[in-house]
Point group: C2
Chain length 320, copies 2
């Protein structure tokens, strides 16, 4: 059997067929002016990235090196997102396979140390259908919905037709289903499958039917993965504070969460939750910046990270 043949190749680690090029890609997120932003480099819409090299001690340190070199931002909090390889990445025509290991990083714009060729882009420029803070965006009902239904009805058999309609309804909250902000990646994949985003139409001359900037290679997909992960995570881990200045008001904190989640939060419930879990402590100062009653300033209680599992640090995301 060819079992043995493969075993032999397995034992020759220098074999060219098995070698791959490994890229590290970062989704670096910051929030300012209630707008969630992602760090891009150059003129094109490209995430910071670079090949894993032998001198990198680890995947994380390799990533930090590349991002700092390309953007001037030293990274704090990072976590691995996903490893891609089956995409129609640039290396398809090469002999070598390209693997992309992606990371999510949370930081603040002020952390930049030097001028650089990088810039911050609102992530809603790439995903305009994801911002529901002012209600469901018109493009969802007016553009995406009819296009997705059209796509579903274009299936060859009834079963597929129904299944496509169901998937679209779940992902986008059609037919009185609730909008679930965590499904960013699923929505993007659906639009890709329906050929409604630019990436799915490369080589075609037709304009993509959906507004929203695309990115180089599969970077928009990676960004979507990062948004999905972050939107899920803020509900059970206090990661928002990585994006906050040292001192902040409770409303600023709420606005930041709302920016990330793309939906509004019920204020009293939000405050109750934050206080209940003792996530913050007063600095003793107040801010009058916003007009109205001066708000107390708070700082994150780093001790909560040391108090074991922050069980139930869920955020009350309003469905109103």
């Amino acid at each position: 059997m060819d079992d043995r043949a493969k075993r032999i190749r397995r034992n020759s680690p220098g074999g060219k067929a098995d070698a791959a090029k490994v890229d590290l890609t970062a989704v670096v997120v910051a929030v300012s002016n209630n707008e969630p932003c992602v760090l891009t480099i150059g003129q094109t819409d490209t995430l910071p990235s670079g090949p894993l090299a032998l001198e990198h001690r680890s995947l994380q340190s390799g990533l930090r090196t590349w991002v700092e070199e390309q953007t001037g931002h030293p990274l704090g909090y990072i976590e691995q997102l996903y490893t891609f390889a089956d995409r129609d990445r640039a290396g398809a025509e090469l002999e070598q396979r390209v693997i992309s290991i992606s990371y999510l990083a949370l930081t603040r714009k002020e952390h930049a140390t030097a001028p650089s060729k990088s810039s911050w882009q609102s992530w809603y420029d790439y995903f305009p259908w994801e911002d529901h803070r002012a209600g469901t965006p018109p493009m969802v009902s007016n553009l995406l919905r009819p296009r997705l239904i059209e796509w579903a009805d274009g299936a060859y058999d009834d079963a597929t037709r129904l299944e496509r309609r169901r998937r679209a309804a779940i992902a986008f909250g059609f037919d009185d289903r609730p909008w679930n902000e965590d499904l960013t990646l699923k929505r993007y994949e659906l639009l890709y499958e329906a050929a409604l985003v630019e990436e799915a139409m490369r080589g075609s001359t037709l304009p993509p039917p959906v507004r929203g900037k695309s990115m180089v290679s599969d970077h928009r997909r990676i960004l979507g993965t990062g948004i999905s992960r972050l939107r899920s995570k803020i509900k059970y881990r206090p990661v928002v504070f990585e994006l906050m200045p040292p001192a902040f008001t409770l409303l600023q904190l709420q606005r930041t969460v709302e920016a990330l989640a793309g939906r509004l939060i019920h204020k009293p419930n939000f405050r109750r939750l934050i206080e209940q879990h003792e996530l913050v402590e007063e600095t003793g100062e107040t801010s009058t910046e916003t007009g109205g009653w001066p708000a107390k300033l708070y700082r994150f209680r780093h001790a909560v990270l040391e108090e074991g599992e922050v069980a139930g640090a869920k955020l009350p995301l309003s469905r109103a």
Copy 2:
């Protein structure tokens, strides 16, 4: 600046320095006789794995190919776990870096199609401190606790000492903290750091102080990652059913969850939850196999997967 130098290397994808060997590793899980098992190959404690090759269409299909070839088990449900590279993996002395992309697979033992050199091992053989179904195992209080305190007190400064004690207490539930079954990976990493597991002592002649089989390379760490992921996931997604036969009683379902979680569940609450979320439907038959009142047989309602997010499919893990 050397910025330019790196950019140039970046653009020569065939460069040897950037090429890496990519391994696919699978944590294949099944439960039988109320014991969670992992699939291993050969005589040694090794997870199924093999190098990613050009003929694999995707990471997933490469993994499926390797597992089926090495064990005879075709895989159903799989999900990506984590990508490792910074370990002191076998390739440290080689010129080439070794990357390991790991996957979690859920299946049933009966799915084997052919005799093979693989075998099933209880995962508690590798992690004996993780099974709390019969209460806290004696080894936790009698062996791990004193050894971890010893390790903590061996630190050079007071701050580190306190921090180590705190981490150990959180991970293992010392000092009246609750036991959190999801922290399997953290516990293993802590024991590794404290040099209480065999992998941390390779090259040493001293016997490892903690019982529990070790595995080849960093496979026990990968298994720990899989256990952690699965224990978290069963609380909010109905993945347990991938491990169940087509028809089962509610108690069998409960015992399976308990086997995975390593702790007991309050029976009435478990049933209430399953019924509340309509995860199952009656087959109409009953089973008298267990003695006592014949239990109704149920099957998984696959429709729930199509009903959008299975919000709140949490499992009531008793803290008693």
